[in-house]
Amino acid sequence: MPTLELRDVVGGYGDTQILHGVSITVDAGEIVVVIGPNGAGKSTAIKAVFGLLNLTGGQVLLDGEDITNTPPEKVARKGVCYVPQTANIFPSLSVEENLEMGAFVREDDFTPRLHEIYDLFPPLKERRRQAAGTLSGGQRQMVAMGKALMLEPRILLLDEPTAGLSPKFRGEIFSIVKTVHAAGTPILMVEQNAKQALKIADRGYVLVDGRNKFTGTGRELLEDRQIAAMFLGGPTNGAKDKAGDGAA
């Protein structure tokens, strides 16, 4: 049984339909990457899992349980963690308070987990009393991911975690994604740095205009001529388009 499954999901914002039947499957232990042009509905597809839009068709299943249109706080309580593309930290709270909030739904002592997160993101430990809003873009992304990981989630949803970051930070974030995955957490990730992302992906989906366009293993998509021409053309181009996005 897949950990997470979007089955022919149809929906959007208000009366505007954005997703016209999107299907995505994340199996236990997989990294799944979603790519596609700007405005394709990649973020919207993730929001569909989190009950952030009104779905008029299709289903969202978490380990087989129907969670279609479940409100966000309930989805979080089920152990699904989501790092939005923007506004993904509490800027006036300290780094440590952000991590504590990530553990809000935990009833047990999360101190050991806090130390694991600091081991995963050493720069955060040094700055744990600092207001998260004063950190650099890369460090903020670390706070956002650390906050989501506090729950030891059943699945982690990441929306463009490397958008607007320097190549150095981009590499760091990718290696952390690999570490988290190696520890057993399945990951669904939207990425603009398609080449780099597909390299670590078990499977990839290409969304265009709110529909599935291509599906395959990371390697298949990387080697596909058509996809290479459309989406992997120049990683620098892709990176340029997204510069500044998500840094706010």
Partner: protein, 300 residues
Amino acid sequence: MIDFIGDLVNFYLIPGLVLGSIYALGAIGLTMTFGILRFANFAHGETMTLGAYFAWTLVQLTGWHPIAVLPIAMGLTVLVVLGIDRGFYKPFRASPTIMLVIASFGMMLMVRSVVQFIWGVQMKAMVPGIQMPVVLFDWLRISPKHMMIIASVLVLMFAVHYLLTYTKIGKAMRAMSDSPELARLTGINTEAVIRATWIIGAALAAAAGVLLAVDTHVETMMGFKLLLPVFAATILGGIGRPYGAVAGGLVIGMAEELSSYPWIGTEPLLNPGYKAGVAFAIMVAMLIWRPSGLFRGKVY
């Protein structure tokens, strides 16, 4: 020289501090409802009035000092405000802000009418008689009621500070004030945070009303008159910033009192009748030049 400093301190600074700390209590609640529920609560002034009337009634019933009945008055006010939230604001949780603002405006008129209906419109004295000030170091004169007001405010502020800094719900309140959307995504129990916000806001507002009544008297328009300086303090401090609200309250209170000090010549700089205008002027100036306030609050 001592006379000059003595006058300034005894007749302007201490009253300014007393008034300012009362504004601060009111502004903490207003700024938190603004930050967390995203609306300007016009009924906040009536919450203060309600607290004062509860305390007055308790004093009549028990014969205790107003400060002794303060916790009970705060508790009663909290119950009323939680009831109002359940009945009148909760149905609008997902509605546009303007509907909540208007609902709170209606609530302001309703609460005031109910207060006037129950207690009448005449002024009432909270503490009968006149108290002699205590003289310290030969020149510092401070009345016992002012000492009690400042001490009460300090206790309440430390309690709020502790709550916001060290408790889970307090941190969640600050988080939700930063971003309600992210708070929901994080799994924070937003209804619990809203309830905590009303409880703290109403308790502090009630305390502000009672303390103002101790300093002056009880009347049905007292909360409404507090509303302008408390809004000014909220905006000055930055919306959603409780520490800003404290600073804002103190600045507004001091500015109001010091504006009538005879800085030039022997006449008051500003006729004391225009005190309320000082708060208004500060509020307008902040909105024009620095709408995020001193502590970088939200801008809508």
